[in-house]
Amino acid sequence: MYGDLANKLIIEAKRTEQLTQKYLDAALNSDNGGIRNDFNGNETIIPMYNDELIYNILKEVNQLKQNTEYLQHIKQEEEETKDQLKDVLSGHSNDKIRKCQYFVNLLCLERNKRCLMAYQRMRSDIIDKMVWNGLIGSNNMYNNGSKRSGYNELSHYEQEYMSQYKNLIDEMNSESELWSSIEIMGNMNPPSDIFIDIRVLKDIGEIQTEYGTFNFVKDSQFYVRQSDVERLIQQGYVQKI
């Protein structure tokens, strides 16, 4: 039946949406508020673009398109004959049949269109989220020095879309005074504990911060800006008290 393939696509889309949502929720709950600096490149939050299924749906679309054209053609012919013969009965019932056939075709096309659009929009939404969550390297994603060789999960047009969207945000970020001064790409959790007490676990030596130079000797304690020592905490050199 027409539309069955598209249905499959939507069921897949729904599963994808649920899975990525879980992942992104977890990112928000982490300390850095939805920004994932620790993205190691092995995680995929977007599954492979379903080329094969899309191809088959488009084949169906093409078939329906041809049907429609054929029906339109027939209808024209019949109307000409009708005018000549004024054959009320046959003209009438043919009209009805053609109309019904046409609507079935049209509705199948509309249905396929809706499913394809929804699938694509679901994926572009995920791409948007990836951009906002800092999952996309700031250089050109294909060959940024980072961990990923590319985004094989994305279709060609999606890759293009992703890099252009990322560029848009970067560009606006650097051009808008407001966006840059409030760090629009920053943490979505409210600031709490901007300054924290820490204990140094290993000798590190002098650390330069906005608030002066700190001599991080083992077992010493400091009150520092959390963002200044974020990395040291992650690496286990210092500990939040």
């Binding site: 039946m1 027409y2 009209d95 009805k96 049949i97 019904c100 056939q101 609507f103 079935v104 929009r121």
Partner: protein, 208 residues
């Protein structure tokens, strides 16, 4: 609801039993008979997105475009291509089951998009009776959903920050799992959102 809404798209694919009111050659593929004719009074199931329109456009006029009006059809009487019959989801048997025991009903097995389909159906037929039944069903079930959502939450040991499930026995969790299996997709969504909300707040409080 919306054009891109995946749940709505899936709800729209519900199969509706239909009765054709005309012979339509060439549509045999709808009943697995490609190239054949669908005959008048044929009954078959069609997805809602298809049936809905065929049930409301007029078969008798060739076109609803005024410029093309059929001059032979001055006495227009509305006959659609098909009539939609009550889908299984809303048969008397199901409605009775709903009325008897709304709470322990396995709504998911009746239709995973029960409410979405119900709303479409109510709208199509201005079916106030069905609206009342469905509202009542939702209201009654919502209280149970709320109770479950609020109790399957994480509990924190005051000493450690480790999390463990409440209901020290697994049966509680199994109950919740079994319960969510009986929910339709909308109920499931509400359950999850409510549960997340309760959980997040409990987590915040315990962290404090």
């Amino acid at each position: 609801m919306g054009y891109y809404d995946l749940d709505d798209i899936l709800a729209d694919s519900a199969e509706i039993p239909c009765k054709f009111l005309h012979d339509i050659p060439g549509l045999g593929y709808l009943e697995n008979n490609p190239g054949g004719t669908i005959h008048v009074n044929t009954q078959l199931k069609l997805p809602l997105w298809l049936a809905r329109v065929l049930a409301i456009i007029d078969a008798s006029s060739a076109s609803d475009d005024v410029g093309n009006a059929d001059i032979f059809n001055t006495e227009q009487q509305f006959t659609p291509f098909l009539n939609m019959l009550t889908p299984e989801t809303f048969t008397n048997k199901v409605i009775n089951a709903i009325k008897t025991d709304p709470i322990s009903l396995d709504l998911h097995s009746i239709n995973p998009y029960f409410y979405a389909l119900a709303i479409k159906w109510i709208e199509l037929f201005s079916d106030k009776d069905l609206a009342e039944i469905v509202s009542d069903l939702l209201l009654q079930r919502s209280q149970v959903i709320n109770a479950h959502a609020n109790s399957t939450t994480i509990s924190y040991n005051n000493n450690s920050n480790s999390t463990s499930s409440t209901g020290n026995n697994n049966t509680t969790n199994n109950n919740h799992a079994l319960f969510t299996l009986t929910l339709d997709e909308f109920e499931k969504k509400i359950y999850k959102e409510a549960n997340d909300s309760y959980k997040d707040i409990k987590k915040w409080i315990y962290q404090y």
